[in-house]
């Protein structure tokens, strides 16, 4: 074995080359899966050169094989094709270049492709990338819509035309890239990153027309799906026909059936919105005027109530009372006066009747003693006593003289 290398006794290139070749050879034969990135056949040269790319990791490795291996019947080897390769690591000492020497190449079949997609789907689903809770709502009327599609593709036209018709004020941030083949996934991811970083972009639409499973393969690329999951901006996918499902559809915030449908989802239709607003406005107005009417009717009814409408009735009532009272008062008064008069009459009559004046008038006289007492019996009076005689015409002081005068002499 050669002695260890050192600055004093360095190895010659051939030794290093041989050792490297040895090391590399230790890998042995491997089956490797990837995507054909470049494929070059020089005329009828025996060797075919191609580059095998790992779509998820954006790495690639040179592969060489004998022409027969590449031209095996049934194998359609084209750029972008997914293949499985049986190969051994080969170190071409002459030029110090590494490549994989392929002894068998198999195209990954459609079934195999779908199976692979399913495996990736389950892997990502398990990680929760497709959970409904991750789905973000779309903005109602985004000012700027990011669009990732093939340049001048039908999908691009559908999205732009439809969106502008619905919401003329909408603006777009375009990202055109390949939408099939080996560079598609990377192209879309690049667009996603750029548009996601732009704060003015409020929603991103990834749109592509229909295509074969292989054509749509980039849209089931694990790297792309993870990129979509990582974006801050909501993503709408419109990839392939309604019946095709690619993994991006699972991770997207909204899956649109077609590019036109995507436009319907991201921008509102202006006419519709106006009708909606006008309708609400009319309803509010009628509610308000209905309310007003109800209040006006109430006020009307209150004002027409007699106590308010005809206050004079209040007074009238009172006036009648007063009138009635006066009437009664007058009647009572008159009645009382009449009675009084009648009483007076009676009293006067009685006085008149009782009063001695009439008797005196008839010639009678009334004797009163000094103290006013009336004399009813001569025995009450002493001789020579002064008395007062009251006759109709007036009074007469007299003295009692009991000397017999002879006529009847009755004591």
């Amino acid at each position: 074995m050669t002695s260890p290398s050192s600055p004093e006794s360095p190895w010659p290139v051939r030794t290093v080359a041989r050792k490297v070749a040895e090391w590399i050879g230790r890998l042995g034969e491997v089956w490797v899966e990837g995507q054909v990135a470049q494929l070059s056949r020089r005329g009828n040269a025996a060797t075919v050169f191609l580059t095998l790319r790992d779509p998820a990791a954006d790495l690639s490795v040179p592969v060489t094989c004998h022409r027969d291996v590449a031209d095996r019947p049934g194998l359609v080897l084209t750029e972008g094709a997914r293949v499985i390769v049986r190969a051994r690591p080969d170190y071409y000492v002459a030029r110090g270049s590494f490549s994989l020497r392929a002894t068998e190449i198999r195209a990954v079949g459609l079934g195999e492709l779908l199976a692979r997609i399913e495996r990736i789907r389950q892997l990502l689903a398990a990680e929760g990338l497709f959970d409904a809770t991750r789905k973000r709502p779309l903005p109602f009327a985004p000012a700027v819509v990011g669009v990732i599609t093939g340049r001048d593709s039908a999908a691009e036209r559908d999205v732009l035309v439809t969106a502008r018709r619905r919401w003329p004020a909408v603006r777009f941030a375009m990202h055109n890239c390949a939408v099939q083949g080996p560079t598609a996934a990377a192209g879309v991811i690049d667009g996603l990153r750029r548009l996601d970083a732009d704060p003015t972009v409020e929603v991103i639409v990834i749109a592509r027309g229909g295509g074969s499973v292989e054509d749509l393969l980039p849209f089931s690329d694990e790297g792309l799906v993870r990129a979509i999951a990582a974006t801050r901006t909501p993503v709408v996918t419109a990839v392939g026909h309604e019946t095709d499902t690619t993994l991006v559809d699972h991770v997207a915030d909204v899956r649109a059936a077609t590019p036109t449908d995507a436009a319907h989802r991201v921008v509102p239709e202006i006419g519709e919105q106006r009708r909606l607003v006008d309708g609400l406005r009319a309803r509010a107005r009628s509610l308000m005027s209905g309310r007003l009417e109800q209040q006006e009717r109430w006020l009307e009814s209150v004002r027409s109530r007699p106590v308010l409408a005809e206050p004079q009735r209040l007074l009238a009532g009172r006036a009648d009372d007063v009138l009635a009272l006066r009437g009664r008062a007058t009647r009572t008064l008159t009645h009382r006066v009449d009675t009084a008069e009648r009483d007076l009459e009676h009293a006067r009559a009685r006085v008149a009747a009782l009063s001695p004046a009439a008797t005196l008038q008839r010639g009678y006289a009334v004797l009163q003693r000094a103290d006013g007492a009336l004399v009813r019996d001569p025995a009450e009076v002493a001789d020579d006593e002064r008395l007062l005689v009251r006759v109709a015409g007036g009074r007469l002081p007299v003295r009692v003289d009991r000397t017999p005068t002879g006529e009847d002499g009755s004591p």
Partner: protein, 76 residues
């Protein structure tokens, strides 16, 4: 003597429409219940009139505002 309502004054401007309406309804109730002195019913009646006028004013103003808010051309 029941507390005679304060001598008739215009309803305070700070009163809301609902308060004015409520008081008006109360005035009418008390007038209809009767049993008031002449002076009380007179000033109560004046209060009622003022309140009714105020409510009317509010409703007219509301009507105007509603009409004013009418879009100039609903089909613009």
């Amino acid at each position: 003597m029941t507390d005679t309502p304060s001598p008739e004054t215009a309803p305070e401007p700070t009163q809301t429409y609902e308060q004015a309406r409520e008081e008006l309804a109360d005035v009418v109730r008390r007038l209809e219940a009767g049993g008031l002195t002449l002076e009380e019913s007179l000033s109560l009646w004046e209060r009622g009139e003022a309140l009714a006028e105020l409510c009317q004013h509010w409703l007219d103003r509301a009507r105007e505002r509603l009409a004013a808010a009418q879009p100039a051309d609903p089909t613009d």
